[in-house]
């Protein structure tokens, strides 16, 4: 899969999120879904921490949402971007909302249809950053050329997640310290210390 669009890539690094919600506000400004914020911002463990984490569509190589859509309403374009539901076709069943492994599509009751992040295709198709990445102050959401990432950021980029038996390759990249450990295994046993045990690394030697 081509991970680039107009020579640039979209990178998400939830660990950098500072919870400013600029992405939530700016998402509404996207031309393809004006007035509707489609990004998700989660409090990771609300009772114990103020830590937040964003989630955008990862634009799967083989999108689960499109495969479970009974109306054939979700299409992937030639850039590998998985687009929002085609309005004439979407019948509002929420299969995609429930099946997306990343929990991305949103169902809107009044127009009775699903909408999802389309990587601000009005912008990224001409080389501009998606709205969320254009305002993210901590670069938890980042858009740029691979060489720019290599020069300014640390860590490896990875495009694969594992959910149980299912491997999900994505167009959007995420950051890990070392990609040789393989895909991000979401259901696997957490290796090492849980971050809540020592959130600021004070006990590290």
């Amino acid at each position: 899969m081509n991970h680039l669009i107009q020579g640039k890539m979209f990178v998400i690094d939830q660990s950098r999120c500072i919870g400013c919600e600029a992405c939530v506000q700016s998402c509404e400004e996207c031309g393809t879904h004006r007035g509707q914020s489609l990004i998700h911002l989660e409090f990771v463990d609300r009772g114990a921490s103020t830590q937040t984490a964003p989630m955008v569509c990862m634009h799967c190589e083989d999108p689960t949402c499109a495969n479970v859509c009974p109306a054939d309403a979700i299409k992937q374009n030639e850039d590998g971007v998985v687009q929002s539901a085609l309005k004439p076709r979407c019948i509002g069943c929420s299969n995609c909302v429930n099946a997306c492994p990343f929990g991305v599509p949103k169902y809107f009751a009044l127009p009775d249809q699903m909408m999802k992040c389309d990587m601000c295709y009005d912008r990224t198709s001409v080389g501009l950053a998606p709205m969320c990445a254009s305002v993210c102050p901590s670069q938890a959401l980042w858009f740029g050329a691979p060489e720019e990432f290599a020069e300014t950021r640390r860590g490896d980029l990875i495009h694969e997640y594992r959910f149980g038996n299912q491997l999900v390759p994505t167009k959007v990249a995420t950051v890990v310290d070392d990609r040789t450990f393989g895909p991000i295994d979401v259901m696997g046993e957490p290796g090492g210390q849980r971050w809540q045990d020592d959130p600021f690394g004070l006990e590290e030697v």
Binding site: M55, A71, A99, V104, Y161, N165, G192
Partner: protein
């Protein structure tokens, strides 16, 4: 080289095949003729032909000049039935189709559901309130095109089938009488308002459709979001509807103001646009006319789901969706090549969307040594 589709990738087993189960049902769209769908398509064509024969008084009232239109209708009927049946065999569509009807026929709910259906057909199919809540301009445009097409179909189909014809009353040409299925109905003076409206129904329909098409076109040419994602196939139905309407209006122009000049050529041109338009319906964007009513089934599916057992999240233990729908998804996913099971006992699909996002964030941060 063209990229393989999602289904082709499953079929060929390429791309992480080790992680995926073999799909039980593969429909590539190129796997040859679907015999069952073709038989139903032919059956529908025969029903129309019998309807034409009987309804036109054994072809007595059938207008041979409209035979081209009838052939266009028959081809469109066959292709629409064929595509519809292929469509509802796709695993997620088949499950939804079955569940929708099951939910509709639930014990003790049939009466209320039938009653509710009338309201749903009015609000969702005729009034299309869901489009109005998206954009008033789009709703107005859609209503213009929708009612324009309904009006045109209500006039042209009965005329083409020989179900409707007009005769002058007695020896005078000043009065006309409409015959439906050969049965005499009201007569009216040709020069009256009723006569004018009756003989210009298709012109009225053409103005409605053109009005709607222009609003749609304005959006497609001006809206930045639409410009980014639209395709040539979004313009094709607009071009087709415009072509049918404008060539239809040309016939009236020729007849009223050009003393019938070019009428024969314009008749052929109009017939060509209509027949091509009919043939486009099953293959293009306008097929949503037949897909969209599935939304009514979704209404009953959701209602039954909300009243039934709820799915608890495997992480937060909170109810988040209908268990029936999640079970249906876990039935469909392996058929389309996905396996979200984990160590035999749990399934990622049992996780609520919010916990999915949190778990992903936690898994990612584990790989970079925590937050911050």
């Amino acid at each position: 080289m063209e990229e393989p589709t999602a289904v082709e990738r499953h079929a060929s087993g390429s791309g992480n095949s080790a992680q995926r189960r073999s799909p039980k049902v593969i429909r590539t769209g190129t796997g040859g003729l679907d015999v069952r769908a073709a038989v139903w398509g032919f059956a529908a064509v025969i029903v129309v032909l019998v309807g034409v024969y009987v309804g036109s008084g054994n072809l007595r009232w059938f207008d041979a000049a409209l035979a081209g239109y009838l052939i266009g209708v028959l081809l469109a009927v066959f292709a629409t039935v064929y595509r519809y049946l292929v469509w509802i065999q796709r695993p997620p569509t088949a499950v939804l189709n079955r569940r929708g009807w099951e939910s509709f026929r639930r014990k003790g709910k049939v009466g209320a559901n039938v009653g509710g259906l009338i309201g749903l057909v009015f609000t969702n199919i005729f009034a299309q309130g869901f489009i109005r809540r998206r954009s008033v301009a789009r709703w107005a445009a859609h209503q213009l095109v929708f009612w324009g097409c309904i009006l045109a179909a209500a006039v042209t189909f009965p005329l083409t089938f020989g179900w409707l014809h007009f005769e002058s009353v007695g020896q005078e040409g000043s009065h006309y009488r409409a015959f439906l299925f050969g049965i005499s109905t009201a007569s009216f003076p040709a020069e009256s308002l009723i006569g004018f409206v009756t003989f210009h129904l298709l012109n009225i329909a053409a103005f409605l459709v053109i009005g709607g098409v222009l609003v749609f076109l304005h959006r497609r040419l001006r809206d930045p979001g639409a410009l980014a994602v639209e395709r040539a196939t979004d313009f094709l139905p607009l071009a087709g509807l415009f072509a049918v309407s404008i060539t239809g209006l040309f016939l009236t122009v020729s007849s009223l103001w050009l003393e019938g000049r070019y009428y024969s050529f314009l008749t052929d041109l109009h017939a060509l646009t209509v027949i091509l338009g009919l043939l486009y319906i099953p293959f293009g964007k306008l097929f949503h006319i037949f897909q969209r009513p599935a939304n009514l089934g979704v209404h009953y599916y959701k209602q039954a789901g909300a009243e039934g057992e709820q799915q608890l999240c495997r992480v937060c233990d909170e109810p988040w969706a209908s268990k029936m729908q999640i079970d249906d998804l876990k039935f469909v996913l392996p058929q389309v090549g996905f396996d979200y099971a984990h160590e035999g006992s749990s399934n990622w699909q049992d996780t609520c969307p919010s916990c999915r996002r949190k778990s992903i964030a936690l898994a990612q941060t584990q790989r970079v040594g925590g937050f911050g």
